[in-house]
Amino acid sequence: MSSKNLSETIEKVLSDEREVRAATAPYQAEFPYERDEEAQITRREFCNFLAVTSTALFLGAAGFAGKAAYDSRNIQSFPPLKIDGAKDLQAGSALNFRYPTESDTAILIRAADGNYYAFGQKCTHLSCPVYYAKESDRIECPCHEAGFDVKTGNVLYGPPPRPLDQIAIEVQNGEVWAMGRIAGGHES
């Protein structure tokens, strides 16, 4: 900004202030108060504001903890779902399915030992979709290079704070059924 523009801007702001003062002069005479003083805040007022903030922060922490504790006790049950295509899944491969709702993607893995393991597909770090890496026999997240154990869903490395959500499965007559979903790292 050139010095001319700057001085014009300063002059405009000052003239606005003068116009406001001129326009409010009659009211100022009837209800006198100092505009400058009005803009100030005392230490006492700021202390009171900080006390209110302190109350709000305490209530926020207590409320958040209370809601989390309530949610931890409120274990949802979901109807069983047959996983299509699981029967033909080869050892060392995986397929995606949706459970318990259409918006919840999940991953079914048939490990090298032939057993099935299923997890929610959302990484517990920032919800990126995880995938099964056959060569390393791990579940990996491509976003921030996290790794999860293929049998337990536990975090092997990377930033996720808790294990993957586990999906309980049952094999009935060769068909694989999803029976429920357990939040990873769930503490009873």
């Binding site: 922060l57 809601k67 808790r162 790292g185």
Partner: protein
Amino acid sequence: MSGEDKKFKSTRGIAAIFQAKLVLMVMINLAQLWILAAAIEAALARHYKELLPLVVASGVCWLISLSIIFWWKPVGRR
């Protein structure tokens, strides 16, 4: 001693006390902000055992800030 001087002398100590209260309150607020962030982190990670100590710590901070506001009054010169 003029009236202005008297007023200055009588309010000087009070201003210092309110300044000290202000600094303490700011520090308590910062601690509570950190505690709230830790509580959210613990809840999202489902580390429920960490929540109660965090809430208690926040409550202690809140009580200290209340005590600063309501009970820490400047004592008159004896």
